[in-house]
């Protein structure tokens, strides 16, 4: 790479995003779906930090975006796991195909 490490880092984050998307498509267990979403959020964070470092080194906006994304991801994971555990108590299963009451 003649022009610095931005393109390899962007390719890594793209790969991670689509790995997360593959997991979101193939998994049927809610905890593994949550894990796939965490991978996708992390790939977005890598993008923000890489753009901040290599394209706009005089600013800090990308770092703040990734800090706020990490915070929101933590809140989201906590709420999602509370919902999953509640669902497990009422359905004895955390498979997305078993939770169909609100589907139609």
């Amino acid at each position: 790479m003649s022009q610095g490490p931005l393109i390899p880092i962007l390719l890594v984050s793209t790969g991670l995003f689509f790995i997360g998307m593959y997991g979101l498509f193939t998994r049927r267990n809610m905890i593994t779906l949550l894990m796939a979403i965490e991978l996708m959020l992390n790939s977005v964070n890598i993008n923000f930090v890489a753009f901040n470092k290599y394209l706009f080194p005089e600013k800090l906006n990308g770092l703040f975006f990734s800090l706020f994304i990490i915070t929101i991801a933590a809140a989201e994971a906590a709420v999602a796991i509370a919902i999953i555990i509640n669902l497990y108590r009422s359905h004895q299963s955390i498979d997305v195909d078993d939770a169909t009451e609100m589907k139609y």
Binding site: Q3, G4, P5, L6, I7, P8, I9, L11, V12, T14, G15, L16, F18, I19, G20, M21, Y22, G23, F25, T26, R27, R28, N29, I31, T32, L34, M35, A36, E38, L39, N42, N45, V49, N52, K53, Y54, L55, L60, L63, F64, L67, F68, I70, T71, I72, A73, A74, A75, E76, A77, A78, V79, I81, A82, I83, I84, I85, N86, Y88, S90
Partner: protein, 174 residues
């Protein structure tokens, strides 16, 4: 190829390999551990990019918080050694096709775009700088998102307590 590029490729291989194992492993506990390795490798990538504060936050929040939470919920909801059902071959092929198409499409755009990268400028960020800008009320300060995020965390905390309490009330009614 210098040593720093080799380290970058090693970190990238760790991130992607652990990520692939995290979404394909049929044992859910192993998937959580592979997710842990992937997140630690991402923290290593932040260290490589010399944004130590984000790397520390990544380790504290993701590895110390979210993965532990996920492992807790795995133990609360199912037997960790149990094999999960494999998805059908048609679904695997369709998802793989969609993911590969998306990856190649985006990678094509990324490699052909001229990014205007300037390696001459040096990016240094200190925790002091981040803290001052986070709480500054001037034009480029982040005090408003900071306060909004704190309200969001409060709301999430109350929401989790309410969701977790509902079932115990019902069992008391029974």
């Amino acid at each position: 190829m210098d040593i720093s590029t080799i380290i970058l490729y090693a970190i990238a291989a760790c991130i992607l390999g652990a990520g692939i194992l995290a979404v394909t492993s049929t044992k859910i506990f192993r998937a959580a551990i592979y997710l842990l390795f992937s997140l630690v490798s991402i923290a290593a990538l932040y260290f490589w990019m010399q944004v130590e504060f984000i790397a520390a936050i990544q380790i504290v929040v993701y590895v110390g918080g979210i993965v532990v939470l996920i492992i807790f919920s795995i133990f609360l909801t199912q037997q960790s050694g149990k094999e999960m059902a494999k998805p059908s071959v048609g679904k695997i092929l369709a998802s793989l096709g969609a993911a590969l198409f998306g990856f190649l499409f985006t990678a094509n755009i990324i490699t052909h775009y001229s990014w205007g990268e300037n390696p001459g400028r040096i990016f240094t960020v200190t925790v002091d700088q981040i803290g001052r800008e986070m709480l500054s009320t001037t034009e480029h300060g982040y005090i408003l998102p900071f306060e909004v995020i704190s309200m969001l965390l409060l709301a999430a905390m109350i929401g989790c307590i309410v969701i977790a309490l509902k079932r115990t009330e019902k069992t008391l009614d029974l």
